[in-house]
């Protein structure tokens, strides 16, 4: 041992070879050092040691060749069996090798100048800024080879303004990260929105170097963001009226912040540890290891790096949450999910997963049970508070009353009841259309609007089934079934879409079934067609026949009970009696509001009453259209029956008892005109029934059989059916302001026909009395007494007057039909144009016109 030391001393200090006293002294000194407790703490981890050596090598020569060589050598060394303390040897070499890089790169070129490179403080190659405590120059070493840094340090020491210790700054920065102002660095004001407001409290004795300032600035950003997020979370905490989505956002933020606290705690303990070890091990050799773990501002920056991004994201969300709400908030966050940065994307996805949970909970209830559970109105379906609690009362009372009325509409309390019914009718459609509203701005964009509509419709249907169709059992069963199918969540959008689709189909199908089977919608539609659109020909004829005498009277002499009684008779006498009683009892006859001078024909109408929930489809608006159609068709029917009766009279009478030979020609003319009228009205009727009503009905039936779409589609289909009929039956044209021109013309034509009919009646009566007079005269001539001879010859101007009227109405009719045909030929609607063709088949009217033109 001692001899070893001696040889060491001799080899390293050549001077000592001659001088024994020096040698002894040095050996003693070395013994002292060796027996001291320097670096006792090192544990034998050769891997760690090798790593640190490699790192050192890489630092000194970045090309990596020495490091590679070292790895090689190390591997070989480890194979060697000789040494028992390889680790110790290595660590010895490392300790020695940790000499200044400058000296290493220029290893003493001239032995004559064999001065070791200027000694430097051990902390010199430590990363980051040098701390004054460690770099305080030791006197005696500065005599030669001063670098500029040394000079500067010296200068600083002289003016007594050293750099502020990094440890102090580090502590402050850790405070800053928690949003607390430190001793040397402070936030100007917590409330200040400007993140750059960071003040460095200038200590006259210390300097904070500019790079360090910038570094602290960067770090302080995280602290600032933290303050914002934290204040947001705290602000929402315990406040009432915060939406559930916001609450879950707060929860997520809070858990993120907890993570953040954990990091801060780790950093703080590390700082404390490194400070502690610094106090104890002031020995230079201890620094090497400590350097690996010690916390510095730059290391802090690296540690915080990820959190800076995270904090930024959180802060953005917080900013957005201030003015967005519910679904819009989800939407806002989702906007960040489309980011190329995987970190941002992942963070956003996580956040969305959390935040959208309440949304999906609401969605689930809405989609599978039709309940809107949304206390903070965050869902994209909004309920109308006025309609929210309005539930359908199944009209058992009304139904009972109707039934007890013996099949037909209530006789008593006519005014009040009809008002009631119209009020309820409003409700059906209003409830369906108005109870829930779709709010597009609240729809999360990852759902998509088409799906949003589907979701909306599904929930609405379920709700409707439950509350308006009294079928909550089914909904409850469905709900139970759906619960087994897994939950909805953000990460499974495809599954979500699938469940939406199935739920939509099931709900719509069910609603259709309920409407068609439970409530017999199709029966009602058919009944409307049969009765109000005069599909039952025999019924219409019967009704016409029995009502005709009544209806010619002024409207104010008609009584509703008479009408309903007649209606009942008509039903009994026609095939309508075989219709289900539920349909028949809804039929009612009543008068529209009339003004002075109107007769029964103008005000009479049939009515068909529907109740909930059918009135969702057959709403009051639709009923008005049905009445309009009925009115028109009824008029046509009336004209037709008037004409057919007139024809029977004219044709039959003329052959049998109207023997006034000089008027035969006039009768012929009358028959020609009447035939023309009958042709017109028959074509009109055929057009209405066959081409319009039946065709529309077929389309509607096809839709009903397909059972596609939801209730909205059904309502829409029915509406289209009705609109189509109204438009075509009433010959409405598309031209604005002139929609009803043709209709008016047709109505005028009807009046003309009736007037003509009246004139022919007069003519008929005249002929009748004339022939009777002549018969009497002839009898008298033959000497048979048949009664007192009336030789009151009708006044001579009666006949010309009647004939004039007949001719006038006949020609007026002809002109008007021509005008109508002309109008129809240019009609926008193809069916109406065909009606024109039918009316003027073989160009009857055209040739007439041309004749008239050529004659003129």
């Amino acid at each position: 041992m001692a001899s070893n030391l001696e040889s060491l001393v001799c080899s390293l200090v050549p001077h000592a070879r001659q001088d024994h006293s020096v040698r002894d002294e040095l050996v003693a000194h070395c013994n002292e050092i060796i027996s001291s407790h320097i670096g006792q703490s090192s544990e034998a981890d050769i891997g760690h040691l090798a790593d640190s050596i490699k790192r050192h090598l890489l630092r000194t020569s970045p090309n990596g060749v020495p490091a590679l060589r070292f790895s090689n050598l190390l591997a070989r060394l480890l194979e060697q069996p000789v040494l028992s303390r390889k680790h110790a040897s290595l660590s010895f070499l490392q300790a020695l090798g940790a000499t200044p890089p400058t000296s290493a790169r220029s290893p003493a070129p001239l032995p004559a100048l064999a001065l070791p490179p200027p000694p430097r403080p051990q902390s010199r190659h430590r990363s980051g800024s040098t701390t004054p405590a460690q770099s305080s120059p030791q006197p005696g070493r500065q005599l030669k080879g001063k670098t500029r840094a040394d000079i500067l340090r010296e200068y600083r020491a002289k003016i007594d303004r050293p750099h502020l210790s990094e440890t102090l700054l580090l502590r402050d920065t850790l405070f800053l990260l928690q949003g607390i102002s430190g001793k040397h660095v402070q936030f100007t004001s917590i409330k200040d929105p400007d993140p750059n407001q960071l003040t460095f409290k200038e200590d006259p004795r210390c300097i904070i170097p500019a790079p360090t300032r910038t570094l602290i600035h960067r770090l302080a950003e995280v602290g600032y963001l933290y303050i914002r997020v934290d204040s947001f979370v705290n602000g929402r905490d315990g406040k009432t009226g915060i939406g559930m989505i916001e609450q879950s956002l707060c929860h997520h933020l809070q858990s993120q912040l907890t993570e953040y606290y954990r990091l801060i705690a780790v950093l703080e303990s590390q700082m404390a540890a490194s400070q502690g070890s610094e106090d104890i091990a002031d020995d230079p050799s201890a620094h090497g290891r400590e350097e690996e773990t010690k916390l510095t501002l730059k290391r802090l920056d690296v540690w915080i790096q990820e959190w800076r991004l995270r904090m930024r994201m959180m802060s953005v969300c917080v900013e957005g949450a201030r003015d967005a709400h519910g679904g819009a908030l989800v939407n806002l966050i989702h906007g960040y999910a489309d980011n190329g940065d995987p970190f941002v994307r992942k963070f956003t996805d996580q956040l969305l997963e959390e935040v959208s949970k309440p949304f999906f909970a609401t969605l689930h209830r809405w989609l599978f049970s039709g309940e809107l559970n949304d206390p903070f109105s965050e869902f994209f379906v909004a309920v109308d508070p006025q309609l929210a609690h309005m539930q359908y009362v199944q009209q058992s009372s009304t139904t009972g009353q109707l039934a007890s009325d013996g099949g037909f509409g209530g006789f008593g309390g006519f005014g009040g009841e009809s008002e009631d019914i119209s009020g309820e009718r409003e409700v059906g459609l209003k409830l369906w259309e108005g109870k829930y509203q779709f709010r597009k701005e609240m729809l999360p964009s990852f759902v998509g609007e088409a799906f949003g509509r589907k979701i909306f419709s599904t929930g609405k249907s379920l709700n409707f089934i439950r509350y308006s169709c009294q079928d909550s059992d089914w909904v409850a069963t469905r709900e139970k079934l759906s619960n087994t199918g897994g939950t909805l969540q953000y990460s499974d959008i495809a599954g979500l879409e699938r469940s939406i689709d199935t739920a939509y189909q099931i709900a719509s199908r069910r609603l259709f079934d309920i409407f068609f089977e439970k409530y017999g919608l199709l029966h009602h539609l058919r009944a409307l067609k049969q009765y109000l659109l005069l599909g039952h020909g025999d019924f219409a004829d019967q009704l016409m026949e029995s009502l005709a005498p009544n209806l010619s009277r002024p409207a104010n002499t008609l009584y509703r009970h008479n009408l309903t009684a007649t209606l009942e008779t008509a039903i009994r006498q026609s095939s309508a009696q075989y219709d289900p009683p539920d349909v028949v009892r809804r039929l009612d006859a009543r008068m529209l509001e009339y003004s002075h001078g109107e007769i029964g024909w103008d005000v009479f109408t049939l009515e068909y009453k529907v109740d909930a929930p059918i009135d969702t489809v057959l709403d009051s608006e639709a009923m008005i259209k049905y009445l309009k159609l009925f009115n028109h068709l009824w008029k046509i029917k009336r004209i037709e029956s008037a004409l057919s009766k007139g024809w029977m009279r004219v044709a039959g009478g003329a052959r049998t008892f109207l023997r006034v030979p000089e008027l035969n020609n006039e009768w012929h003319q009358v028959r020609i005109v009447m035939a023309e009228m009958i042709h017109f009205i028959r074509q009109m009727e055929a057009y209405c029934q066959l081409e319009v009503i039946e065709c529309s009905w077929k389309i509607l039936l096809e839709f009903c059989n397909k059972k596609e779409g939801d209730l909205d589609a059904l309502i829409e289909a029915h509406r289209a059916y009705l609109d189509r009929m109204v438009k075509k039956v009433l010959l409405l044209s598309a031209k604005a302001g002139r929609e009803e021109t043709l209709l008016h013309q047709v109505r005028e034509l009807f009046t003309t026909i009736l007037q003509f009919r009246e004139a022919t009646d007069d003519f008929y009566n005249y002929c009748l009395s004339e022939s009777a007079r002549r018969d009497a005269a002839r009898d008298h001539e033959r000497g048979i007494y048949t009664g007192p001879l009336r030789d009151s010859k009708p006044s001579p101007d009666t006949l010309p007057d009647i004939l004039r009227r007949i001719n006038e109405y006949g020609s007026t009719f002809s002109e008007k039909v021509q005008a109508i045909v002309q109008g129809l030929q240019t009609h926008a609607d193809l069916d109406c144009r065909f009606l024109g063709v039918r009316l003027s088949f073989s160009d009857f009217y055209k040739s007439r016109r041309e004749q008239a033109q050529s004659r003129a």
Partner: protein, 74 residues
């Protein structure tokens, strides 16, 4: 000298060579002889870091002595 002894010698020599190369890589500026001395000392249980301290101390001493002699000589 048995063959085992020769083996031991040669492997010791190899080990020393490797260590010397490492020391050169690390720029310890030790010559082979000193290195051998140091390694044997470490094998005998001397604390390596303390030994490194000794080497440095001696080097410093070595530089100081000529200085002193220079000063003395002036």
């Amino acid at each position: 000298m048995s063959s085992r002894e020769t083996d031991r010698m040669s492997s010791a020599q190899q080990t020393l060579d490797i260590l010397y190369e490492i020391s050169q890589l690390l720029h310890t500026q030790l010559d082979k002889e000193t290195l051998a001395t140091c390694v044997s000392m470490i094998e005998n249980g001397v604390n390596p870091e303390a030994l490194a301290g000794v080497i440095q101390e001696l080097r410093r001493e070595n530089t100081r002595i000529p200085e002193q002699s220079n000063v003395n000589g002036q």
